[in-house]
């Protein structure tokens, strides 16, 4: 079997045993990137030299008898929104093109310390705003299942890279579904940890109260291993939770749902849901019952208001977070010809540097926060947030986890929703509530939709710091489905 088709856990074990070197593993993935990335366009930056140097370092330390972690020498690709001290960080935006941060994000630093090899930086919707990766200033990424379709977004480069076997692992950020939705539409696993469970330090902010770093992998255990490697309290992030990381790896290995109570969110079905998505979801419910879980329907009436609340809160925070891109200290500068004022240069730079979706959200947010409108918009949206929290709390009194389709449809065509922001926003309908409340949620593959043979994701939601439950249920579903299919879902993907 090709090294690139191995799981991260296998690669880690093979490197640890000396069966292969980290350099060989890294080279295999660099070769794969060279082979397919002109079709997939998952990467904005491939760090060939530094990746091989890191791999050589791991091999040397291993040879010297140093005890290394389970993922030492395993390659990872970072969403290009985490700062990296040795490669550019663009956030998919012209305004940051070529910006070289002087510091590593905590996620970057922790994975570096754990010996993971950084292959490069992956494509994304500009500043993580979008569900398609169409909004990247550097061109869209393509879904390995069908290159005419989107790999989801905003972390579409990271999902595409893993689904295309360019990397066994990647990082993403989930603000409204930006990890789970891309994972669902590319047939891989994507986890949004509990807010505060993984550090935001060095993650270029879109919406501070929602942004959550999380892992992508082709299987649940690999995702848990990556999750564990970068999570945990970070004194540099005030919103980081000072509690032990939930036992996610143990839960992924446990893969047992017998006796668990599982709630199906009633509000996430019906109109707007693709029949093939609903069919696979129903099968997953039946499967969980057959594995010994008790599946019941649960109503969360406030979830209906999650989408509008999200589209007030996220843009409001974004309008403030993105103010700093003002041409003064870093990034693009337009119109500085010695005749213009600082204000004019700021305005010209922002007009030239931001794409249309970013501008749309900055304007939305600026309006929602403006004097006289704050209470009606931002204030009201925060109240909805409280209501959704109560719905979750009530639900978790009855059940251990909640499940739903991750996204109402399978991957749509590139450009299809570009002129219809509302249709685009609907892709995050089922994922947004967990962001508004900070709950944990994962997406695992649950088959292909009959009408288009494209992957469908199952979302498993758990309470704050109940991340392990997501992995436990996800791993059980994964094991049962793979034994039914006889192979991982991705084996059904067409060759690139």
């Amino acid at each position: 079997m090709s090294l690139t088709r191995r799981t991260a856990a296998e690669l880690g074990a093979m490197i640890a045993s000396g069966e292969v070197s980290a350099v060989e593993v890294t080279q295999a993935h660099l070769d794969r990137i060279a082979e397919v990335d002109d079709k997939v366009h998952a990467f904005l930056h491939v760090a060939t030299e530094s990746a091989l140097a890191q791999a050589r370092d791991v091999d040397a330390r291993r040879a010297a008898g140093e005890e290394l972690g389970p993922l030492a020498g395993v390659p990872v690709a970072h969403k290009d929104i985490f700062t990296t001290a040795d490669m550019p960080t663009t956030c998919g935006s012209k305004i940051l093109e070529g910006w070289q941060p002087p510091y590593d994000a905590t996620v970057t630093a922790r994975l570096r310390a754990a010996g993971l090899v950084i292959l490069g930086k992956t494509n994304l919707d500009e500043f993580a705003m979008g569900s398609s990766t169409d909004n990247s200033a550097f061109g869209p990424s393509h879904n390995p299942w069908d290159l005419t379709r989107v790999p989801g977004g905003s972390s579409g480069g990271s999902s595409a890279a893993v689904a295309a076997f360019e990397a066994p692992l990647s990082t993403g950020t989930d603000t409204g579904g930006s990890i789970r939705q891309p994972a669902a539409v590319t047939g891989i696993v994507g986890m949004k940890p509990t807010y505060g469970g993984s550090s935001r330090y060095g993650l270029v902010a879109f919406a501070s109260s929602l942004d959550t770093p999380g892992p992508f992998a082709r299987n649940v255990l690999d995702a848990a291993l990556l999750h564990e490697a970068f999570s945990g309290h970070d004194p540099l992030d005030s919103t980081s939770i000072d509690q032990p990381v939930p036992p996610v790896v143990e839960a992924a290995r446990q893969a047992d749902v017998s006796g668990m109570r599982i709630g199906v969110v009633k509000e996430f079905s019906g109109e707007g849901y693709q029949p093939g998505v609903l069919a696979r979801f129903q099968e997953a419910c039946d499967l969980l019952e057959s594995l010994g879980a008790k599946v019941v329907e649960v109503s969360c009436p406030s979830f209906t208001y999650a989408l509008p609340a999200y589209y007030l809160i996220a843009p409001s925070e974004a309008s403030s977070n993105l103010a700093r891109f003002d041409a003064m200290r870093y990034g693009l500068r337009v119109g500085d010809d010695g005749t213009r004022s600082a204000e004019e240069v700021m305005a010209l730079t922002r007009a030239a540097g931001f794409g249309p979706e970013v501008k749309r959200r900055i304007m939305l947010g600026t309006y929602a926060l403006s004097s006289g409108y704050y209470d009606a918009y931002y204030g009201q949206a925060q109240k909805v947030r409280t209501l959704i929290t109560r719905d979750f709390e009530a639900a978790y009194e009855q059940v251990d986890v909640l499940i739903s389709p991750t996204t109402p449809t399978t991957a749509f065509r590139i450009g299809e929703r570009a002129d219809d922001p509302m249709a685009m926003y609907l892709a995050d309908l089922c994922t947004i509530p967990s962001n508004l409340t900070g709950n944990a949620a994962i997406s695992v593959p649950c088959g292909l939709a009959d009408e288009d043979d494209l992957p469908v994701g199952l979302q498993i939601m758990a309470p704050v710091l109940g991340d392990d439950r997501c992995y436990r249920v996800g791993a059980a579903v994964e094991a049962a489905l793979q034994s039914r299919w006889g192979a991982p879902l991705l084996d059904k993907a067409p060759a690139l």
Binding site: T83, P101, G202, A207, A323
Partner: protein, 500 residues
Amino acid sequence: MTTPTLMPYDEALGRFEPVLGVETHVELGTASKMFCGCATTFGAAPNTQVCPVCLGLPGSLPVANAAAIEATIKIGLALNCSIAEWCRFARKNYFYPDMPKDFQISQYDEPLCFDGYLDVEVNGEVVRVGIERVHLEEDTGKSLHVGGATGRIHGADYSLVDYNRAGIPLVEIVTKPVEGTDRLAPEVARAYATELRELMRALGVSDVRMEEGSMRCDINVSLMPRGSSEWGTRTETKNVNSLRSIERAVRHEIERQAAILADGGTIIQETRHFHEDTGETTSGRSKEEAQDYRYFPEPDLVPIAPDRAWVEELRAGLPELPSVRRKRLRSEWGVSELDMQAMLNAGAVEPVEATIAAGATPADARKWWMGELARRANESGTPLAELAVTPAQVARVAALVAEGTLNDKLARQVLEGVLAGEGEPDEVVAARGLKIVGGDEELGAVIDQVIADNPDVADKIRSGKVAAAGALVGAVMKATRGQADAGRARELILEKLGAA
């Protein structure tokens, strides 16, 4: 710039009643910045005390400085404020090159401390100034506009920004509107700022140097016609960088606004800038151009919820407050309120206290600090407390005078020597040979010689023209190069010539 029409102060006060407000920004003297670990040393080379956080680099996050929160609560307690049980930071959004994130982390409708007061004394009368709020925020960087005539951004060739100051913890203290000060409004404003400065010093939370900008006051003034109870439109005067300027700025605004109102005009709600050189204010931003700051709770920081027991601990640990201390010292030193006020204004209270502690009498300590040393501080533009002389040295000089080794004139020379770095007072006395021409015997010999040299004058004195003794005293002082006790010399001369 046209000179504004002013109404003479007395006339203005005859027709209008001023309402006063003061917003004070105090830079806290914490070792590190508000939201990062950078140092806060004043005067470092530009942009050397910066990091990803205080430069607002993409991805960086703030972490609140616990020492700054503690200092703010202490200030609130000393100002008799309530301390919030739960409050949040808020973002104040506006674009400006010296603000790295293009928003300032501040507090909006949930200040850490609120609803207090500070009593200040003006002409022996106590005025209670209400405190609306005390909140914590971060300072901005500092712009330097190069070229152009005004040093302002408009007309400059280019601008430089120093971010060393960006992120330094800043406490904003806002008074409630102060009514009923009448013609004492300027003095009340000054006394309030003075008292606040003393309070910050006593708490040890800031070096409160107005000239370095670590304490900055914005002055709000409005007028209402006598007999009316409806406040007028207020202006906010910025750039008021000394205690004296505060007084001048209030006075100027009263005179300016009175002239406009008397002429049937209206006051524009605006920011005005005070000019130290002319004592005038000029228009800055008007309300029409005022920004919508789009405040919202800072999502990168967790709420502050000070533990009640801890707050009570801080309250119990507050030092003796300046007003209480002054009352105590006044009675201990036997000085009048006015004298104490003068010492306070001169920054002499601490040095005097330390000098007394080093053994000087209160009268001597006050005399040297408020006299010779105040004069020298004034000349060199140095704060009194920063002169190169210690209270112990001043006490030693006073002791040398008391024991008759020095007279006042010599003592001034000794202090000059100490200030010039010539060593301890005794070393200066020895090195410069500054010893009073000592006992009556030594002095008597000099006097005998002077009488012998001036027989005519001596005769005059003998015949009862005592006033002529001055000439002989002068001769004695000359002969001793000033190192004689002139009073004793006069006594001895009169004695010797039988005129005593």
